[in-house]
C-alpha cells in the first residue's frame, strides 16, 4: 500500500488530517571485539508511521507488521474518538512543497558494498594495532528510502545511505576512541579512525588518579558532541512547553558566550541526519538556535510554532520537534593553540553516561572515559583517570572561550543526534571524583 492510499483511506473513514510515511531500510553491522569479528548483522525492515486527527483529537502509530491497514485505521480513529481534544493541536504542514536534493546524502557504492564491510573493518583494526594491544567497535552501513504523503497535499520521497565506524583501542592501562561517519563511501576513513583511537590510547598510558577541582578543560569533538546531544532536549519546543527545558523563558537572552553559534541543519551536506523533509513533509532547513551567544529559536513543528507564534522550523516529530544535525559554528583556534593557552587544566577525549539532576536548570554530570590528559603551563604532562564533570549546561555554554576551526561529524552509541563540532576550550569546569 502506498502512503497516499493510506491517507485517502483515513480521510474516507472520517479523519480530518492524515500523514503516512513508509520507511524501508537495510542495515548491516560488523561488530568486532579484541581484534576479531564476533558477529555480522543484517536488518531488512519496513515501518509505516501513521498520524491522524479527528476534531482536535490526535493519534499516532508505528507499524512493523502485516496488519490490515483499513482495520488498523479504524482502530486508530476509535481510539482518537475516545481520547480528549489536544487544544494546542493546530494541524500539519500545508503542501504541496518542492524538495531539493541534499548534497552527498546518497551513494550507490554503499548500497553495493555487498559484504565488503568486513574488509573496511579489517583496515580499521590493522590501523589500531599499530599503537594499541587490542581494539573493539562496530561498522554500520545503512540504505533507506522513504515515502510520505499527507492530507494537506504533501507527497514526498527521499533516499539515503550512510556508513559509520566507532572504534575503541586499548593498551594495558589506557584506551582511546574515534569515529568516522559519512553518507558517502569516499569520505569514510576507517584507517584514520583506527589510528586516532590507538594514538590516544598510546599517549594516555600510565594514568594517575585525577583530582577534584575547577579546571580549564579542552573537549574533544566526541565530548562536545555528547553534551550537545544531551542538551538538545532543551532546544525542542515540546520540552519548553512542558516546562522541562533549561532554555525556558530565555529567547532573545544571552545563554552562551558570544563565540557560540549553534544551528540545526536538516540539509547539511554529508550530514548523517540530513533528510529532505520532516515528519509532516515540510522541507527541512537550517535554523539558528543560538547565535553569537543569544538564544534565537526553539525547534518547532506546525503546532508548537503556532502556539509560540513563530514560523515552523521543519523539525517535526508531529508531537515532539527534534533536531536533525546539530552544528557548532567553528572558531579560529586549533587543539595545539588551546593546549598552549591552558595553565592548569585537562584535555578530555571522550565521555559517556551524561545524566541530569535537574532538567529545568540543566544541572548534570558526565563521566570522561578513554584518554584524559593533564595540562600544566601549556603542556600535556601526563594522563589521568577516574574523574567526573559535574556542572551545568548553561554554565558550560557561557564558559566556552575557544572553538577550533577544524570540525568533525560525530555519531555513535553515545551520541544519537548527529553533531558537527570542533575542539572546544571551556573555562572553570567543575571536576569531581570518588572519595572512597
Amino acid at each position: 500500500m502506498l502512503p497516499e492510499d493510506v491517507v485517502n483511506l483515513g480521510l474516507k473513514l472520517g479523519a480530518n488530517d492524515v500523514v503516512c510515511e513508509i520507511i524501508d531500510t537495510t542495515t548491516r553491522q560488523v561488530k568486532f571485539v579484541n581484534n576479531v569479528i564476533v558477529v555480522n548483522k543484517l536488518w531488512k525492515e519496513e515501518v509505516m508511521n501513521i498520524f491522524l486527527s479527528w476534531r482536535k483529537r490526535v493519534i499516532s502509530s508505528s507499524i512493523q507488521s502485516n496488519v490490515d491497514v483499513k482495520k488498523f485505521l479504524k482502530k486508530m480513529l476509535k481510539a482518537a474518538k475516545l481520547s480528549k481534544p489536544k487544544e494546542d493541536y493546530y494541524g500539519i504542514a500545508e503542501g504541496p512543497f518542492k524538495y531539493r536534493q541534499i548534497e552527498d546524502s546518497y551513494d550507490k557504492k554503499i548500497e553495493k558494498l555487498n559484504g565488503k564491510e568486513v574488509e573496511l573493518t579489517r583496515e580499521a583494526i590493522e590501523a589500531s594495532l599499530k599503537n594499541a594491544d587490542r581494539c573493539s567497535g562496530v561498522l554500520y552501513t545503512n540504505c533507506w528510502k522513504t515515502e510520505l504523503a499527507s492530507s494537506n497535499s504533501v507527497k514526498a520521497k527521499d533516499k539515503g545511505t550512510s556508513i559509520s565506524l566507532s572504534i575503541r583501542s586499548f593498551t594495558e592501562d589506557s584506551s582511546g576512541h574515534s569515529v568516522s561517519v559519512s553518507r558517502k563511501l569516499s569520505k569514510f576513513e576507517p584507517r584514520k579512525a583506527g589510528e586516532e583511537s590507538s594514538r590516544l590510547a598510546k599517549e594516555s598510558r600510565k594514568p594517575k588518579k585525577g583530582k577534584a577541582g575547577r579546571y580549564d578543560v579542552i573537549f574533544h569533538p566526541l565530548v562536545m558532541a555528547n553534551l550537545l546531544d544531551y542538551m538538545s532536549y532543551g532546544f525542542s519546543a515540546f520540552e519548553v512547553d512542558a516546562g522541562t527545558s533549561f532554555l525556558i523563558d530565555k529567547l532573545g537572552k544571552k545563554v552562551a558566550n558570544k563565540i557560540v553559534t549553534i544551528e540545526d541543519d536538516g540539509r547539511m551536506k554529508n550530514g548523517f541526519g540530513a533528510r529532505k523533509f520532516d515528519e509532516e513533509g515540510r522541507p527541512t532547513q537550517r535554523t539558528k538556535i543560538i547565535e553569537n551567544g543569544i538564544l534565537k529559536n526553539y525547534l518547532h513543528n506546525t503546532s508548537t510554532a503556532k502556539k509560540f507564534k513563530v514560523k515552523p522550523t521543519a523539525n517535526a516529530g508531529i508531537i515532539y520537534p527534534q533536531p536533525w544535525n546539530l552544528i557548532l559554528k567553528n572558531g579560529n583556534s586549533n587543539l595545539e593553540e588551546m593546549i598552549s593557552e591552558v595553565k592548569d587544566g585537562l584535555y578530555v577525549t571522550n565521555t559517556w553516561y551524561t545524566r541530569f539532576s535537574n532538567y529545568r536548570t540543566g544541572d548534570f554530570s558526565t563521566i570522561p572515559r578513554d584518554a584524559i590528559f593533564r595540562i600544566k603551563n601549556g603542556e600535556i604532562v601526563g594522563a589521568v583517570r577516574g574523574i567526573r564533570i559535574s556542572d551545568n549546561m548553561l554554565r558550560i555554554l557561557k564558559n566556552i572561550v575557544e572553538i577550533s576551526k577544524e570540525r568533525k561529524q560525530i555519531y555513535w552509541w553515545e551520541v544519537n543526534v548527529p553533531v558537527l563540532t570542533g575542539y572546544v576550550l571551556v573555562n572553570n569546569v567543575n571536576v569531581t571524583s570518588s572519595v572512597k
Partner: protein
C-alpha cells in the same frame, strides 16, 4: 509470519549452518501522555518480525526481518552464510554451551486484561493524577503510561520450542517544582508485568501526591556540608546501586570485552570469583522469576530455564551472568541471562531483577545509632564509569539524621564513591524488601530491556556525603 521462523531455522541448517535459531515476536503497545493537563497524541504500536542467529563456519551472525517474504529471507540467509564463511579468518569461533532441549509454553496471566480497559479510562487515570497535584509551585507535570504485550515463539535447530506471552505496564512521571529561581526535579518510573490490576497495587494517587508535596517542600530544604557521615539508603537507591555496581560488572560478555566499545568493560576479571568486594552482610542476587517483576521470564531468549543467580554472597564475588556463548567460554552451563529487547536485536547477557537480600534490622534500628547522617529515600542523577567502579548518586528526597532522629529535608546530597567503597561500608541491612522499575540500556544498537532492582533499607558507615555543586 510465525511459520517462517521454523522455515528460517531449517533453511539455514540446510545451507551449511552448524546452529540456527529464530525468534518470532509480536509486540503490541499503547502509550498515553498527559503534559500539564493536555492529552498528547496516544501512540499505538504493532510490530512483528523474526530475529535469527546463525553459526556457520564458527562465525555468528544475526538477521532481522519484518516482511513475511520467504524469498527475501532465503536470499539473505544464503548471503549471510557466505559472508560468515568469507570472514571466518578474522572472526571469533563462536560456540554455545550445551543445554537441555525444551518444549514449553508459558505466559503471565492478567487478572484484568489491559486490552479490556477502555482508552478513555487509561487517559483519565493520567488526567486525574495530573489534576490532583496541579498548583503553581509545580509548573511542570508530565505523565506517560505504556502498556505492552509481547508474544514470542523461540525455536532452534537443537529442537527447543518455547511460546510465551508477557503483558506489562510502565508509568513514568516527571515533575518540576519552582518558587522564585529555585527549582527541583523528580522523575520516576513504575513498571510491572501483569494486567491492569497492577494500577491499583501502585497506589498512584497517594504516591504522586506525597512526592509533589515533598518536591515543593524541598525547595526550602537545607544544603548539607560535605563531610564523612553515616548514610541510610532506601530500596530505590539500593536498587540502582545493585544494578549499576553489581549486576552490570557481573555480565560475563562485558568481562570478556564484548561491550568494550559501547557500554564498556568491567572491573571484574574472569578469575575474580571469590574476591572480597563487600562486608559479610552483602548478598546480591539477580532473579528473573520474581512474581510481577518488570523483567520477568521463565526461559531466556536462548531457551534456557531461568534461575536465581547469586552475584555477591556474603561479600564475596560469587557468580557472573551468562548466556550460552559466555558460558561456553567459561566451561560452564548458561545461567539464563540471554535477553533481547525485541525480535530485531541479538540476545546478549542482561539482568532481570537485581537486588540485595534483606537482613534483620527495622528502619528504626538502622537509624537509631546514627549520630549525624542522611537518609536518602529517592534519587535523581546517577552515573557510573565504564568499568563499573566510580559511581555517583544524587539524592532527591533526603533527610538529615541527628542523634538517631530523622530531621528536615536536605537538597541533593551526593554520594560519589567506588564500588568497593560502597559495598565495604554496608554494616547493616533492613528486613524490608522493595523494588523499582527501570529500562536497562546495553548493546549496539541499543537495547532497552525492562528490569527491576531493589533491596532493603541499608546503612553505610562513615562515607563522604558531598553537597551538590
Amino acid at each position: 509470519m510465525k511459520d517462517l521462523a521454523e522455515f528460517c531455522v531449517e533453511f539455514a541448517k540446510k545451507n551449511g549452518a552448524e546452529y540456527s535459531e529464530a525468534r518470532f515476536e509480536k509486540i503490541s503497545s499503547e502509550t498515553f501522555t498527559v503534559k500539564n493537563g493536555t492529552v498528547e497524541s496516544p501512540l499505538l504500536v504493532e510490530n512483528e518480525g523474526i530475529g535469527m542467529r546463525i553459526i556457520a563456519d564458527g562465525v555468528l551472525s544475526f538477521l532481522s526481518f519484518t516482511k513475511a517474504d520467504k524469498n527475501l529471507m532465503k536470499e539473505e540467509i544464503k548471503k549471510m552464510i557466505r559472508i560468515s564463511k568469507s570472514s571466518s579468518k578474522i572472526s571469533e569461533r563462536s560456540k554455545l554451551s550445551k543445554e537441555r532441549v525444551v518444549k514449553k509454553r508459558w505466559k503471565i496471566r492478567e487478572k484484568i486484561k489491559i486490552k479490556d480497559v477502555d482508552i478513555d479510562e487509561k487517559i483519565s487515570l493520567l488526567l486525574d493524577l495530573e489534576k490532583n497535584i496541579r498548583r503553581k509551585e509545580l509548573p511542570s507535570r508530565f505523565f506517560q503510561l505504556t502498556a505492552t504485550t509481547t508474544e514470542k515463539f523461540f525455536i532452534n535447530s537443537e529442537g527447543t520450542r518455547i511460546h510465551s506471552s508477557v503483558p506489562n505496564l510502565m508509568l513514568f512521571y516527571n515533575l518540576v517544582s519552582k518558587i522564585g529561581n529555585q527549582t527541583e526535579n523528580r522523575y520516576f518510573s513504575l513498571g510491572s508485568s501483569g494486567g491492569w490490576e497492577i494500577i491499583k497495587r501502585w497506589n498512584l494517587e497517594k504516591k504522586i501526591k506525597d512526592e509533589s508535596k515533598m518536591l515543593v517542600k524541598l525547595l526550602k530544604g537545607k544544603t548539607i556540608k560535605t563531610a564523612k557521615m553515616d548514610v541510610i539508603l532506601a530500596p530505590e537507591l539500593v536498587g540502582i546501586a545493585m544494578h549499576e555496581s553489581c549486576g552490570h560488572p557481573a555480565e560475563a560478555d562485558r568481562i570478556l570485552g564484548r561491550e568494550g566499545a559501547q557500554a564498556g568493560e568491567s572491573y571484574l576479571k574472569p578469575n575474580f570469583l571469590g574476591m572480597q568486594i563487600g562486608t559479610k552482610v552483602v548478598t546480591v542476587v539477580d532473579d528473573p522469576r520474581i512474581k510481577g517483576s518488570y523483567g520477568y521470564y521463565e526461559y531466556d531468549d536462548e531457551g534456557v530455564k531461568a534461575r536465581r543467580r547469586f552475584l555477591i554472597k556474603n561479600g564475596l564475588i560469587n557468580e557472573f551472568l551468562h548466556n550460552r556463548e559466555t558460558a561456553n567460554k567459561f566451561g560452564i552451563k548458561s545461567n539464563a541471562a540471554a535477553r533481547a529487547s525485541s525480535f530485531d536485536r541479538e540476545p546478549i547477557v542482561r539482568m532481570s531483577t537485581t537486588f540485595m537480600l534483606p537482613g534483620d534490622f527495622s528502619l528504626d534500628e538502622l537509624i537509631e545509632d546514627v549520630k549525624h547522617g542522611v537518609y536518602i529515600k529517592s534519587f535523581t542523577e546517577w552515573n557510573i564509569d565504564d568499568k563499573r567502579w566510580n559511581q555517583k548518586y544524587v539524592g532527591c528526597e533526603a533527610y538529615e539524621i541527628v542523634n538517631g532522629k530523622i530531621k528536615g529535608l536536605v537538597r541533593r546530597p551526593v554520594l560519589e564513591l567506588t564500588t568497593k567503597g560502597f559495598f565495604s561500608s554496608v554494616d547493616a541491612c533492613g528486613k524490608d524488601l522493595d523494588f523499582v522499575a527501570g529500562t536497562c540500556g546495553k548493546g549496539d544498537p541499543m537495547q532497552g530491556v525492562p528490569v527491576w532492582m531493589g533491596g532493603p533499607h541499608i546503612r553505610l558507615r562513615n562515607v563522604v556525603v558531598k553537597h551538590a555543586t
